[in-house]
Symmetry: C2
Subunit: 324 residues, 2 copies
């Protein structure tokens, strides 16, 4: 597949998606201050970011609202308290997890909502439910993406079938998601080509969501971009589960479209992200995450190791190998 | 140029070069403890690293030996105090800077030295002196590389001429060096191809030395690798000037050759690198370095900003733009 675009020109199909509250919320239990969220919204609008994801639409049957910050649930009134009617060029997104969202009741008609994009997150064995959720959201009037998580664990034949199912669904965007931070650019290139072939066949856009276990989140994102992927997830200073994501400041420094302006991002980093880090919220590259990424494992053991302050990397590596 | 090798097999031309003491020495004024250096040597030998660079052969006329740690000068007896006669499969390297090395006197015949590889570091406008140093080291019996620094600043026509000069010299390895951490993988691919064409024409190996300003040091290293570059620089936990280099733990986790074993590296990180960081030695990705990298500038302003603890990123960015 030929390279799309080059380092000097711009591509009109690119969409930058800020996922700070959603993936970053996994680090601090979604307990962001209102000041942080308001500043994030304003920074994203000023920076020309295309979508801001506010969090999850998690089921209140399954999750106790008193045990999480409000962005795990993304009530309509909570989003409106920040964005009003969102009189900006930036669109609003939320994530709906297969099996953890009461989508039939909690996702209302788009005409009654300030939300624009529903991001359905699924593991590959949950595809039939994901397709039903895509259809439901589409019928209600939303833009819809489907994010197939942990693709580094999927068999090629299962992935091919899942992509065909999505091609035949009303979904707008199909996401390549490296949940474990296990992929290297060469693999991202091959996977991107597979997703893009389906996208071209069925008229779908392709997106990427990367993790930084091997310091490759930004590299994998621009590798996918150069192959033709359009929707690019990033978070402020890479805030996200474990080692975090593709950093917004890196991505906007790279993109050449004059729509994007990285300056408000730097202001946000100095005014909001630094104090958040100083308050003890921890994310970013660390050896335990490298190890789960390298071994293509869920980061939960690494998250626990970092939480415990473990620095016996060699022993931790041995434990991971024993649990393979 | 076709991809060389793949993610499952090994390439016999690969050489891993540990540059921790040399590039890391720029962070702590080369003041490593003997314990650190001994442990590093043992870890590298156990890990199957091919070359260990001990530091610079800096001129004692130009630099006061009392103002730097000993690895800025790499006296023969100081290296031998660590490696003895180096009865290992790993080779010993030192760097010789054009204009800052008394190479005629300070580099002795290889038969009298435990050093195997002289790495001549040059800016592109110093090529005639670099060639003379290459010839001198080669005549004395060494393996010799030439590292053209700050290639992101070089004009294409100058670079083409410099590569031809090196092709016609007795140098063994020509290095692509991204001193400012400014290159993205797409540029590394194009530059690698240019270096490799000269390498194939004249029978030279090609190497890469990357910096992590944009979190791309590892990505750029494996991009070059997949194009056919053989000599790969890395440092422990990325220790190096400013934001540092390609991390040894990432590179050895990626390479598939059973010669390499990342386990001793993790032991070294926990026993030596963590205490070094805790003692106040600072390196790694930070916004000021991203900014100089993005602007293709020398990192000195960023190093100064980080030293001063500046976190007014937006203002710092403005200052850099004014000094362009």
């Amino acid at each position: 597949m030929a390279q799309k675009g080059d380092l000097m020109t711009v591509r009109s199909d690119i969409r930058v998606v800020d996922a700070t509250l959603r993936d970053g919320g996994l680090v601090n239990n979604f307990e962001f201050t209102d000041e942080f969220v308001n500043a994030l919204y304003r920074a994203n609008v000023k920076a020309g970011v295309d979508y801001m994801e506010f969090g999850y639409k998690a089921s209140k049957e399954l999750f106790d609202v008193n045990k999480f910050g409000k962005w795990k649930f993304c009530n309509e009134e909570d989003i409106r308290a920040v964005v009003g009617d969102n009189n900006s060029d930036m669109k609003i997104a939320v994530m709906a997890d297969v099996g953890r969202t009461d989508y039939e009741t909690d996702i209302v008609d788009r005409s009654d909502s300030v939300i624009d994009l529903i991001r359905v997150a699924t593991y590959i064995h949950q595809m039939p439910t994901a397709i039903r959720m895509v259809e439901d959201a589409k019928k209600k009037g939303y833009e819809v993406s489907c994010n197939i998580m942990a693709v580094s664990k999927a068999k090629e034949s299962d992935l091919a079938q899942a992509l065909e199912m999505l091609g035949n669904s009303p979904v707008d965007v199909i996401y390549l998601v490296d949940s474990y931070g296990s992929l290297v650019p060469e693999q991202v290139r091959r996977l991107s080509e597979q997703y893009l072939e389906v996208g071209e066949k069925y008229g779908k856009q392709i997106g990427i969501h990367a993790h930084n276990n091997q310091q490759l989140a930004f590299a994998n994102t621009i590798e996918a971009l150069s192959n033709g992927v359009s929707y690019l997830d990033a978070t402020m200073n890479g805030m996200g589960r474990g080692c975090g994501n593709c950093s917004m400041e890196l991505l906007l420094s790279f993109l050449k479209n004059p729509q994007y302006n990285v300056y408000p991002i730097f202001r946000f980093l100095q005014n909001q992200i630094l104090p958040l880090r100083e308050s003890g919220v921890v994310w970013g590259y660390d050896i335990p995450y490298l190890l789960t990424g390298k071994l293509n494992q869920h980061p939960r053991a690494a998250i626990e190791a970092v939480k415990q302050g473990r620095t016996d990397y060699a022993e931790f590596y041995t434990e991971l190998l024993e649990n393979e």
